[in-house]
């Protein structure tokens, strides 16, 4: 009987087997890149199950699953965007899946024209945050470190940034995206000013020498963007004792909230007493500065509040060819800056930045027997929205409002005047980032501004594009129109003017590989509507017109290498600049004194492990600067000799938390000449006498001791030096 049923039994078993195997599906296919190359090692799986496989060398995968119905097939692989496909498992056979490149990876092309970054997380970072403080010539001033980059010109007696033939007023500074109205410490003739803010509160610095985003306006030549630290690592106290003063910093953290404060006191009296300089100081430079950052991390964003107050005082008599008793100058400056910003996510794809700043500055100046008092209230409010459509398309929209109220009183025995202005500017901007592939990206922007003071509306298009020419090389081009109102020193006397205008054309090549960076940038900048007047300096009652124009063009080269020689990191910057302009009281178009032709910087740092020391040097060269010799015909027709400066520094780590720091500026004692001052009237022999404008001191020495107290005993202030 059993024999009889055997075939049926076999049949039954066969049916059962085929039934179970029909419940076991095979998911199979191949994963490739857009160009057809197979991807090996991708993770292919059904979401929420353990069923999956890793693709083989030829990109194929195949795995069994007992799941039924509709599932999401997920494919993930490093440096590619995850792929998801919803479907019936039974239909997931012989699939061909093309993964899209993740455009956030390092080898994606970046819009680099005009931009230098100092940060750790950027793809185009040419400086590291530490460089700001370990560059020998910088003396802890972030502006000083940026002056070693190409595109800046050497104007040693000024200390501010002069970019590509532009004057110092053509660069604007922003903290966390919000404008800073008074970024430099006040000073007088022939004494360089410094960046007002301590570098240690910032962890990202972007310096753009042209062609920047539509987000930024009111800058003809350049923008400098500083970002405050998001999250401090730990609570700590920093103490610094220097030959010129002392500083104290403290950071407190309470969960998602933190506060860093920093106070410093600088007094040059002991230094000037030990090393007298060419000025006759009645009250040597004294400055008190306090600043703080409060940060609160919220669920979807970050709130930051930054405030800084500083007070500067000094009085001195400087030599003057026209005044036998010298020129007396006294300054009292109080400056308050506060800035609050919020950045956060509104949804998965929308991001909001909102913030504002307020500046209150009072200057009390005495020049000989004249008294100048001015107050400046300025504010900036800004809202920016970012919409991320996908990793390839991003849109930015924003609006901002600037408010400025400036008043000045002048008084001397014979004359008294009071003048000023109120200047509000409204702006809207829109910009889009289009990344077509890892090789090709475009940024297009438009900015429009309205000034009630001038009743003038301006529209500035901006565009940049980048194309990757090889694995490590890329070309970018940028174009933009930029408007900026005349500076305060003119606006306070005359408001019936128009905004000045520049147009930038930039062609950039960049090669980045293996801790080496090479950049070459060609540019052309055209100036229009520059302000002209008749006296040497802007004065009340003069005639001011937008009649000037000019151009700047040149080549900037940058090379940095910290690979070739062990423990040695160096960079070389060279800039060639050709620039002429007709503005101010220039009778003809001429190269201004601040726009010299050749500039070279070489900065090196060597870490000596056995000595636990970093030694650094920097060399700066600037070719001669133009000046007018009234004994000969012509205007700005002669040149000073070239400028040379070698600075050395040495940072010695006594322990993890104690650092001894030495630095000397102009170690070889080059006798630099910044220019000449000619007498207003000729001497009996009929020639105009002159006085050489030399730096107040040829050399400067600095010794500091920096001590950090923290729980982990590891942190130190190398980044503050």
């Amino acid at each position: 009987m059993f024999q009889h049923y055997q075939p049926y039994l076999f049949f039954l078993i066969a049916v059962l087997f085929s039934f179970t195997s029909s419940a076991q599906h095979t998911v199979s296919g191949v994963v490739t890149q857009a160009n057809g190359n197979p991807i090996m090692g991708a993770n292919v799986y059904l979401e929420g199950t353990y069923d999956g496989a890793t693709t083989t060398e030829d990109g194929t995968f195949s795995f069994e699953t007992s799941e039924e119905g509709t599932y999401t097939l997920v494919i993930s692989f490093i440096s590619f965007e995850p792929y998801r496909k919803v479907g019936l498992i039974s239909e997931m056979k012989g699939l061909t899946i093309i993964l899209k490149e993740d455009l956030n990876t390092l080898d994606t092309v970046v819009l680099s024209a005009g931009t230098f970054e100092a940060s750790d997380n950027s793809k185009v970072s040419v400086l590291k945050p530490l460089d700001v403080v370990t560059t020998a010539s910088a003396l802890g001033d972030f502006v000083g470190a940026l002056q070693t980059l190409p595109g800046t010109t050497t104007v040693a007696e000024d200390g501010r940034l002069f970019v590509r033939g532009g004057d110092a007023g053509e660069t604007q500074v922003f903290i966390d995206g919000i404008r800073v109205f008074t970024p430099y410490t006040p000073t007088t003739n022939n004494i360089p000013s410094r960046g007002r803010y301590s570098p240690f509160l910032f962890d990202g610095i972007t310096f753009s020498t042209g062609g920047y985003s539509a987000e930024y306006g009111q800058a003809l030549s350049s923008v400098l963007l500083l970002n405050t630290v998001d999250e401090p690592d730990q609570e700590k106290t920093d103490i610094s004792i220097m030959t010129v003063g002392a500083g104290l910093g403290n950071t407190q953290i309470w969960g998602d909230t933190s506060l860093s404060i920093n106070a410093s006191y600088i007094n040059l009296a002991p230094y000037v007493a030990a090393f007298p300089d060419r000025n006759d100081w009645e009250k040597p430079f004294e400055a008190f500065a306090g600043e703080g950052v409060f940060r609160k991390k919220m669920k979807n964003g970050m709130l930051k509040w930054y405030a800084a107050f500083d007070a500067t005082r000094f009085a001195l008599t400087q030599e003057d060819i026209n005044l036998s008793e010298g020129l007396y100058f006294k300054l009292n400056n109080n400056n308050l800056y506060t800035n609050a910003s919020y950045e956060g996510e509104l949804s998965d794809t929308w991001n909001l930045l909102a913030g504002g700043s307020y500046t209150y500055a009072i200057n009390d100046i005495k020049v000989m027997d004249g008294d100048v008092t001015n107050t400046n209230h300025s504010a900036h409010m800004k809202v920016k929205l970012k919409k991320r459509f996908n990793s390839r398309v991003k849109l930015y929209l924003g609006g901002e409002q600037f408010l400025s109220d400036f008043e000045e009183q002048f008084q001397d025995p014979n004359f008294q005047a009071s003048y000023g202005y109120q200047n509000d500017i409204s702006a809207l901007f829109a910009e889009t980032d289009l990344t077509f592939s890892r090789k090709f990206a475009v940024k297009l922007g438009l900015r429009s501004e309205y000034s009630p003071l001038f009743d003038q509306a301006t529209v500035s298009p901006r565009a940049s594009l980048a194309y990757k020419t090889s694995k490590n090389g890329q070309i970018s081009v940028a174009y933009g129109d930029f408007y900026q109102q005349p500076n305060q020193d003119i606006l306070k006397f005359e408001q019936d003017l128009e905004a000045r205008k520049t147009q930038h054309y930039i062609l950039n090549y960049q090669y980045v590989a293996d801790n080496r960076i090479f950049r070459a940038e060609l540019y052309r900048k055209d100036y229009a509507n520059l302000v002209t007047f008749s006296s040497e300096m802007p004065t009340l009652g003069d005639t001011f017109e937008n009649g000037g124009d000019g151009y700047a063009q040149g080549l900037d080269l940058f090379w940095r290498d910290n690979k070739s020689i062990k423990n040695f990191d160096y960079w070389i910057s060279y800039s060639y600049l050709d620039s002429e302009r007709k503005y101010r009281n220039y009778p003809t178009a001429a190269r201004p004194p601040f726009a010299n032709e050749h500039n070279l910087s070489v900065v090196g740092k060597y870490w000596i492990d056995d000595w636990r020391s970093q030694v650094g040097f920097s060399y700066q060269y600037g070719s001669g600067r133009n000046y007018t010799n009234p004994n000969e015909s012509g205007f700005l027709q002669q040149q000073t000799k070239s400028y040379n400066n070698i600075s050395l520094n040495w940072a010695y780590l006594l322990s993890q938390q104690k650092i001894l720091y030495f630095s000397v500026q102009n170690a070889l004692g080059f006798r630099n000449v910044n220019g000449y001052q000619y007498a207003n009237t000729p001497n009996p022999a009929g020639t105009f006498d002159r006085r050489t404008l030399r730096p107040a001191a040829d050399q400067f020495f600095f010794v500091g001791f920096f001590w950090t107290i923290s729980d982990d005993k590891r942190d130190n202030q190398l980044d503050n030096l």
């Binding site: 993770n43 993930s76 440096s79 080898d107 636990r612 729980d711 982990d712 590891r714």
Partner: protein
Amino acid sequence: MKTIITIAICLFTFTGVAQNQYEKGMQKAFELWQENKPLEAANLFERIGNAESDKWLPYYYASQIYILQSFNEKDETALKAKLETALNFLNDAKTNSDNNPYVMTLEALYYTAWIAYDGQKYGMKYAGKVTQLYEKAIAISPENPIFILAKAEWEIGSAKYFGQPLDPYCKDIQRAIDLFATFEPEGQFYPSYGAERAPEVLEMYCK
């Protein structure tokens, strides 16, 4: 960095009687890792993590594999891609287990990878974070020799460099050795490496 890679070669000999899918999956992943197929192992850990929304260990190991892989990586683009992937998994592990000292220790290793790649660039930035993470982990779990060893090993190197006394760190290492003697992993598949490593470290710095 060899030392850290040796730490990672952890052998799991799990002999369960009634294995559920999770246990089978995890064991399979460890087998792949042992067979020197780290990518396959990481992929499987990722799949398990994806399917088990309350488990942190799969993501922990997926992240660890990428971090360890990065230590040998010389190419910056590849290094950053690996560490970015590792960070994603690390964050997934954090999401599934908040305030977990093992995850903190792994995060410390993640920052150590950056420091190992470019000490000049990332040393100052991340050294404080690494120490802080170890301290946090020890505060939560003061008797765990894994954390004690990791912190002591991290600190003893720089103490030696600055010619500071090594005694406190040697004491910590000795304490870790003592604790390892009776140490039982807190749960199934929990990290348990370090018992062989600790005497080597002691030998290297303290003898």
